[in-house]
Symmetry: C2
């Protein structure tokens, strides 16, 4: 079977074109994103820089707040609380990794839901679960949007999500249920993962481990979505899916890079504009 590559580049470009127009329409009061960083991780620095450039290209002002790799929970919460109250700021993101001993769950409640463009706070997660207006985590949303863009139906399909993180797996399950998919969430404690995922029409790998999903995990003709962005031995980016063993068996596969990644960034920036538009229309 030929395995179609489900590129995210064209969708990302279309989203970005719309975002740029809407950013321009804000005129003299551009949308402002505060990006809160508390690490000295090179991969994070690379990602922050790519977000800054993406924002700049689209006409969004991006302020990076570097709290240093030694920041504690109180300092990060205080910064997020201050930015939530800051009328000059439309949108807030907190970058991972956080300092050792600090979890996202400890600091994310300090982000006001109206500015929480990556949907990480408990309130944002709950609004998503309840089907109320709010921002979904961009990566999870990108999975649904890439599949929809490529006209892969979700209603009534069985989707296996491998990974139960608060930023991807769990919110993705909510988004897929809202699309009327039957959803199975698998994880490190799942017994016989290949048997569980091979029962699904669509398999989403969202763990962050190279080679997690192989041909053995996928039934003939299934669609495979690779959310992983792992650093490979040669410094490149590689997903969670062993593409070589899946290719020829799956009907379609999202590439890494060029699949979920660019759509995630594009959706984040669209959320920033939506947050700015919402604040200006209040």
């Amino acid at each position: 079977m030929d395995t179609v590559s489900l590129s995210g580049k064209e969708l990302a470009a279309a989203v970005n074109a719309d975002t740029k127009l809407r950013a321009g329409a804000l005129g003299d009061a551009p949308a402002r994103l505060a990006l809160v960083v508390a690490n000295d991780d090179p991969a994070s620095a690379w990602y922050v820089n790519s977000l800054r450039k993406a924002a700049e290209r689209l006409g969004i002002v991006c302020e990076t707040v570097d709290l240093g790799a030694d920041a504690d929970v109180a300092a990060i919460r205080a910064e997020l609380t201050a930015r939530s109250a800051d009328t000059a700021i439309d949108a807030i993101m907190v970058q991972t990794p956080l300092p050792s001993g600090v979890t996202l769950e400890q600091v994310s409640p300090a982000i006001a839901a109206a500015k929480d463009v990556d949907g990480v706070s408990p309130l944002s997660l709950g609004l998503l679960a309840a089907g109320l207006p709010g921002f979904a985590p961009a990566t999870a949303q990108a999975v649904v949007e890439v599949l929809t863009h490529h006209e892969i139906p979700l209603s009534g399909r069985h989707v296996a999500v491998v990974g139960r993180s608060n930023v991807v797996g769990k919110p993705l399950a909510q988004l897929l249920l809202a699309q009327n998919a039957t959803v199975t969430v698998c994880h490190s404690r799942t017994v016989d993962l290949p048997a569980v995922t091979a029962a699904a029409d669509v398999v989403v790998a969202a763990v962050g481990r190279i080679g997690l999903v192989t041909g053995e995990h996928v039934r003939e003709g299934a669609v495979v979505v690779d959310v992983g962005t792992n650093e490979s031995a040669d410094g490149g980016i590689v997903g969670d899916v062993d593409a070589d063993s899946v290719r020829g068996k799956a009907s379609a596969l999202t590439p890494v890079p060029g699949g979920i990644g660019p759509v995630t960034t594009a959706l984040l920036m669209r959320h920033v504009i939506e947050a700015a538009e919402n604040r200006r229309s209040v």
Copy 2:
């Protein structure tokens, strides 16, 4: 195969005994629950009365606020907001059904999370998803507690939840993931429901339809949990599971009545005491 009946009565009695002790320890400042009602439904009136009696037996003060079956979103939200701010009130529940055209999602955000003892607000749902302290919906929690009480393991087991409501199915999926179960959420749009549920070690029926789950949906030796509380033709209460066809095939089944129901009420009352204790220790 003999099908064991997984009674909830003993667990409910144990929870209630603990709650009564803790309620007594509050002395002259008893825990106070506000029960907000906006319907003229006889089944709701019956349930409200049973909650009032349960509270009274345990030493919890229960105030019923009847807004009438014509109350609109604004009136219900205003009441919930007022009770959230009322320092004399420890806990708030809003009873369903709500008036025609009013959804739980429209009014539940007005319940402060600290008093939201049935875990219905978006913030409560998000705290649950994020693994942060908060109140889980009592019915969903009762499913996990009944299985745990009967020493039915969940870690690594495949659990199929039939129903994706915001009050049972979705929060139950979060609780089961926290127990390291592999979780499949099924619903009205699931294709070939019997095949999906028959792949599971545990099947939870939480839709509210008589006869939804039959022997065909259950594999030999599986555990079946019946969350349904439907009115039968003769005025009694009957679950979602066709017990006659499941018996002899399932290894265990929760009865209706006497299974999830009494544990749900007991957990609600335990939550009221926890809310009161939390407020007094602040």
